[in-house]
């Protein structure tokens, strides 16, 4: 550590670093590789596909021409039966041609994107108000709230799923699509608010109070000082917190599965992928391509927010 490393030590160091990095990214490489492989190539242990096979991506993104589905002979005989009405024939044909084969990936991605975006924006906004109050203002109950927020967060979703579900049933929210989505949105808020408040509170404390004071001397109210001085100065952290909340909602499976199970059109990606995997259409290349496309936005978010996120999460050792 103090003196220069010997050649052997250098070699050991690099070997260990490479081993750790490979351990971390190997599953990602596996996903990428399988998503690009042709089915005949799956058993090949090499990560490099023999032929580049993009059908899975094309299919998910709706770039494939619609396939002609063969109608089974028995059904064809039924269709040829003149006694059957035209409407019934049409119904039969659509039933067999559309089949269970459609996996509307775009739709699921849009669902996930919308709910994550709404969660991210609302959680960041509400958390910034609360964090500012807890960091800067004096009011009764302040210290209880400042400390309580984190403990609340340690109560995991599993412990709350039954009462939250029963609550939404008893107020009637679970019986409609809109109500279900609203319940889910509220649940995502409580899953993100505590850490968002904590991260923003820590950040606000690093901004010198004299800046607000100067603004208030110039005739700004407290709220204006918050809005015009603190918020613009906190942009990087606000963005980081937004990304954090967005990703939490994007990844969430438990509550999505509890609330959205019966509303297939509103499935989020984690739920849709799990359903796809357990359905008869489980085909590795398609699963992996879908995983890759679910992963990609998260990796992009992560690269955008990494610098502040690592620091924000470790100060005080909050999230696990």
């Amino acid at each position: 550590m103090m003196n220069k490393r010997t050649k052997l030590q250098s070699f050991m160091l690099y070997a260990l670093v490479i081993a750790l990095v490979v351990f971390c990214i190997f599953p990602f490489l596996q996903i990428l590789s399988t998503s690009l492989k042709h089915p005949i190539d799956w058993g090949n242990p090499s990560l490099i596909p023999k032929i580049l096979h993009l059908d899975a991506y094309k299919e998910l993104l709706g770039l494939m021409p619609p396939k002609d589905v063969d109608i089974p002979a028995s059904i064809q005989r039924l269709l040829d039966n003149p006694a059957l009405s035209e409407a019934k024939k049409q119904a039969l044909i659509t039933k067999f041609t559309s089949g269970g084969d459609v996996f509307s990936f775009g739709r699921y991605m849009l669902n996930t994107f919308v709910i994550s975006l709404v969660t991210g924006v609302c959680a960041t906004f509400l958390a910034s108000l609360a964090a500012y109050a807890i960091a800067r203002l004096r009011f009764p109950g302040q210290s209880v709230m400042a400390n309580g927020v984190l403990f609340v967060y340690m109560v995991g979703g599993v412990l709350l799923m039954v009462p939250l579900y029963q609550m939404s049933v008893s107020v009637g929210l679970a019986s409609s699509v809109a109500g279900t989505l609203f319940s889910l949105f509220l649940i995502y808020l409580i899953q993100t608010l505590p850490v968002a408040m904590y991260m923003l509170g820590n950040y606000f404390r690093t901004i010198p109070f004299s800046l607000e004071e100067a603004a208030m001397m110039d005739g700004c109210s407290r709220v204006e000082a918050f809005w015009r001085i603190i918020m613009p100065l906190s942009k990087p952290m606000l963005f980081t917190v937004f990304i954090y909340c967005f990703v939490i909602a994007w990844n969430e499976y438990l509550f999505a599965s509890v609330f959205l199970k019966q509303y297939q059109d509103f499935h989020t990606l984690p739920l849709a992928l799990q359903t796809l995997f357990t359905s008869k259409n489980a085909i590795w290349d398609r699963i992996m391509a879908a995983s890759m496309l679910t992963l990609l936005p998260v990796i992009i978010c992560f690269m955008l927010a990494n610098r502040h996120l690592s620091g924000g999460l470790t100060e005080g050792g909050v999230k696990g």
Binding site: M1, C24, F28, I134, L137, F139, M161, L269, E315
Partner: protein
């Protein structure tokens, strides 16, 4: 005048925290109480309730499946907590050295932590797939350790170990981040002094690094226990046959013969354990 200012400040403060704290109170604090209430009822999915007293608890405590899932949870907790802590510490020490492309390596090893569970589980499932997976290829075809291709995830006993390795892979980065932050603040002279005292690398680790990190290690261990006690998605999505407590609760509440009252009773017991752990965290860790 100043008391008037104070009052208006307090008013503004309460106004600003009201939405966030209100939502948290309504959707976390209230459900915890409601859960205790539900645990004394036979609860249907559609909200019908019949009072049954302590029957849920007595049924639960006579159910061997409950004890089995407690056992699985304990193995899971010991494995994952030890694994994430040790690997996190090792990674932090490694990444604290100087080497080329260090920032790239630091970024890459955080990936498992941020990636969506649902995507990475398929990668892991493919790795352990009996027909196509690299694991069976290595063990059977390359190393020749066994003759048969095993479905590790299909068998609940071996799946538990896959889940533990998966969880360590997924969560060691957060432990690593905490350790690295602390390591960077350990004064260099401590190492120099130890070196002058004739300590080799191992001695410096044992006499300087470990004592300096003592509190962070305790924090990491306790937080891992708290988080992994509630861990659902990582286990359920990778291997739904590994019945840790949260998975058992989920099956009781939403699958097959639904009995949400029992699920509520399990949650109440688990919450008591959790509160004990959180209390330990507050008293021992936050006070340090």
């Amino acid at each position: 005048m100043s008391s008037l200012l104070k009052k208006s400040e307090a008013k503004l403060g309460l106004k600003l925290v009201a939405p966030a704290v209100g939502i948290i109170a309504l959707l976390v604090i209230y459900p915890i109480a409601f859960n205790v209430y539900l645990s004394f009822f036979d609860v249907q999915l559609n909200g019908q309730k019949t009072f049954v007293g302590f029957e849920n608890y007595s049924n639960l405590l006579c159910n061997p499946r409950y004890y089995h899932s407690v056992g699985v949870s304990v193995v899971y907790l010991i494995g994952t907590v030890a694994g994430t802590t040790i690997l996190g510490l090792a990674a932090a020490i490694l990444m604290n050295q100087d080497f080329r492309l260090r920032n790239l390596a630091r970024g890459l090893i955080l990936l498992p932590y941020f990636a969506p569970v649902i995507s990475v589980v398929f990668g892991w499932q493919f790795i352990f797939d009996p027909v196509n997976g690299i694991y069976n290829h290595m063990v059977v075809d390359v190393l020749g350790l066994t003759d048969t291709r095993d479905n590790l995830i299909g068998n609940p006993d071996s799946a538990l170990f896959v889940v533990i390795v998966f969880d360590i892979w997924k969560h060691f980065p957060i432990a690593y981040l905490l350790f690295l932050a602390k390591l960077q603040s350990v004064p260099k002279d401590l190492y120099e002094a130890a070196a002058i005292d004739g300590q080799n690398a191992w001695g410096r680790f044992w006499h300087v690094t470990l004592p300096e990190l003592r509190f962070v290690i305790a924090t990491v261990v306790l937080l891992r226990v708290i988080w992994n006690l509630n861990r659902f998605e990582d286990v359920y999505l990778l291997a739904p046959n590994v019945e840790t407590l949260p998975i058992f609760t989920y099956y009781q509440a939403f699958a097959g013969l639904v009995d949400q009252g029992i699920a509520a009773a399990i949650s109440v017991i688990q919450l008591l354990v959790l509160v004990g752990l959180i209390w330990l965290y507050v008293r021992k860790v936050l006070k340090w």
